[in-house]
Symmetry: C2
Subunit: 472 residues, 2 copies
């Protein structure tokens, strides 16, 4: 064994964040809070493996994934064993890039053992092998809730999702002063509208949807002219009326953005000169569903949610309600919490019709934003409430006993690891943000005093304990 040691200097791996203990402590508070709210609505936790068979991941969407599929594929990490043996004939494994595909697979696989409607939450890391670039994570937490039910999933759940999310976001430590807004739409409205016009091929439809999806990033003028262009390119003979109708629709849709009342949706339901559209079943369903969802969220504070028909979501599997969540003062940051209703994701893996609705908090992106803006309540470096000092090695049994006693009372307690040097022990408490230090009273074995590190006050243990118990 050689004397000179080899050192490999580590460096951060781009896109794979890790936090110091004091930041992790806040992250834990966030995760605990989210879990608590999810559970308060009766959602059950599941975890799925970090990997899925590559086939499972690629089955997602099936014939349906004209849009997102290809992009997602690019981001998949596959696993290789470093020393593969010849003759290994295992299925290729890939790290999951979201929690929706694993959920769909899970429901199909365990179908006969689950109680429906199946309400689950899932808070795990997901991986996306994007090119490394500033501000993009390749490993991040997502916090998802979804409900899946065979054949028919009550619309009630579409309204429950934003209520849960609002409750979570409004109370995350450090988020008090952030102005957040959930924007809700129903894809059926735009899809029905476009269908009813009867002027687009499927490919053109996808193009128009993509335009609508980008609407927030375009000026009003640019959006209108691009839409007009799309309409004009659509077929040889487009009546001017169709173009007018299109413009009118979005003017009306925009009026929804400030008011969230049913009356506004009624206006879209009976638009003059939109006979075709008005007769479209999908369009009407969409309006009714959106009205139900908005109505059932009337208990939320004004401005917490709005109906916004420009929300369509990129992923093709959404078929009804869709959600996005933005910082009102910085909508360009993108959605921090998105989801919607999908008609049959789990049906990719089992011969059943399994509609679902879900929403996902982009946890790490949100957390890191607040971290970078110094808005997180970062304080203590450890969970320790009390440091029991060890003034002399001979006092070790006494100190150990006191530490155990306090632990049994529910405190988080460290006993200092080495006898002597009081100054060092106080410095240690200071550095770690430990609020209380227990000090043995001189010449009075077994008697302790408590120093409050914030106020520098010192008082007998019994007095301190009484106050603590009263406060709790």
């Amino acid at each position: 064994m050689s004397d000179k040691k080899q050192i490999y200097k580590p460096r951060p791996v781009s896109g794979f964040p890790e936090w110091l203990p004091e930041v992790r402590l806040v992250e834990q508070q966030w995760l605990d809070h989210i879990r608590k709210v999810f559970e308060s609505y009766g959602y059950a936790s599941i975890e799925t493996p970090a990997v899925e068979e590559l086939n499972v991941i690629q089955a997602k969407g099936g014939a349906n994934d004209s849009g997102g599929g290809a992009d997602v594929d690019k981001e998949v990490y596959v696993l290789e064993r470093l020393h593969k043996e010849d003759g290994d004939k295992e299925a290729r494994l890939a790290l999951h890039f979201d929690q929706t595909v694993p959920l769909a697979r899970y429901v199909a696989q365990h179908f006969n053992e689950l109680t429906f409607p199946f309400k689950r939450y899932q808070m795990q890391k997901v991986w996306r092998g994007e090119r490394p670039q500033a501000g993009r994570f390749r490993e991040f937490y997502q916090c998802d809730i979804d409900v899946i039910n065979p054949e028919n999933l009550p619309l009630h759940f579409d309204a429950e999702m934003p209520a849960i999310i609002w409750e979570i976001l409004a109370a995350l430590p450090g988020m008090q002063n952030e102005k957040i807004q959930l924007r809700i739409s129903n894809r059926k409205i735009v899809m029905g509208f476009i269908d009813a016009l009867g002027i687009f091929s499927p490919a053109q439809k996808a193009n128009v949807i993509r335009l609508i999806d980008k609407r927030d990033k375009l000026s009003k003028e640019d959006f209108e002219s691009l839409i007009v262009k799309a309409v004009q390119e659509s077929s040889a003979r487009v009546p001017q009326a169709s173009i007018d109708v299109f413009k009118k629709f979005f003017v009306m849709a925009d009026s929804l953005k400030t008011e969230t009342i049913k009356g506004q949706l009624e206006a879209l339901r009976h638009p003059a000169a939109l006979k075709n559209v008005n007769d479209n079943k999908t369009y009407q369903e969409g309006l009714e569903e959106l009205a139900f969802v908005i109505e059932n969220l009337s208990h939320l504070p004004k401005g917490a949610i709005i109906a916004d028909l420009s929300i369509v979501r990129g992923l093709d599997y959404y078929t009804g309600t869709v959600y996005e969540t933005v910082f009102v003062d910085d909508p360009g940051y993108g959605s921090i919490c998105s989801g919607g209703r999908y008609d049959d994701l789990a049906g990719n893996y089992i011969n059943k019709h399994l509609p679902g609705v879900g929403i996902s908090i982009g946890f790490s992106r949100l957390f890191d934003r607040l971290r970078q803006q110094n808005k997180l309540p970062v304080g203590k470096v450890s969970p320790t409430d009390i440091l029991v000092t060890l003034m002399d090695e001979n006092l070790r049994p006494d100190a150990a006993k006191k530490a155990k006693e306090l632990r049994d009372k529910g405190f988080n307690v460290e006993m200092f690891h080495k006898g002597g040097n009081p100054k060092k022990q106080f410095e240690y408490a200071e550095k770690k943000g430990i609020p209380f230090v227990f000090i043995p009273k001189q010449d009075a074995p077994g008697v302790w005093e408590v120093k409050n590190m914030a106020t520098r006050e010192q008082k007998p243990e019994q007095e301190w304990l009484k106050e603590k118990t009263r406060a709790a």
Copy 2:
């Protein structure tokens, strides 16, 4: 978009377990309990990315990994992006196979930002790309605590580890009737002993250590004859005395197994006819350290820990105290909780001397053993305490209000998702193990009764609430 859907029937991926919600609920209780005990001793949580640079993983042990290194290498999963672009020049990434290497890297990388002694816990999944085989996980939770300190780490921590682990294992739901034992040794004893004999080459030493490590799996006779063989092979001229000493050492070592008192260790410290050994500094240090550790664990129940000199651990990086934990009635199952003191793991990544000590609960293996033996308290399918029934769609606002009110009181509450059909709603509560069902009193709007699903008793809400509050 085609009509006929393609179905990819999913199957379990060998070695990657996943649980149904009712089992996951118990897993969460376990993880919560472990976290609580770790924190009660002031350990702070960290999480590291799922991946490390392959170089970091392979730097582990450095010149030192004559034993474990090669084996571990075989089990490493490396990542590939499914669609790699030309010119990608990123470092190769590998999934971590334990939490000790990531900790060492973390401490080196963040050295200037940490408070020492750095006490952290870590509860994440780790991955080992073993050949798939029954009962072996390729993805599993480990729950680790470690302390690292520059230059010098007080021995106090070597005694704290088993105390924490004992407290955890004794109170895990479902573990009440399991007889568990922590077996502790100090590598310096065996290493010093072997060195003092002065008859082995380094390779032979490794061989003898490996024999000792396997001692529990061999009969007494087989072990002795293999040791004698090893001694005889060691050099041309081995005095019979050395062989006798070897045998005697293990006979004495065995006597430790039943008694855990200091006196026994004293016997090993002054063995007649072992002059060489007795003068060996490493040997003496080992005995003293082991005595300190055992002594500081005297508050644990009889039989909770024993000194056992046959514990040496396979991994070469241990240099002092070593731990294993076994089911007393089934030691052949192997250690469920292992660790020890390492002199300089973090020193592989920074030019400092950073001794540490730690222990790791093999969470998934332990949990799955109890699951398979039906010893886990598996009950409820969800965290829901109360189901608020929805007897009619018109009553939705009432039911929603009641659900919110109960949630604000701290209960986990579901409102049934669809009006009507009381029978279905009770069945749902039954199936999910929801203990209480709220039922609106007929012809008395706003008045609720509570049905206890276990006793079938029904009583007015106010009465039920009073009892609940008293019980809490």
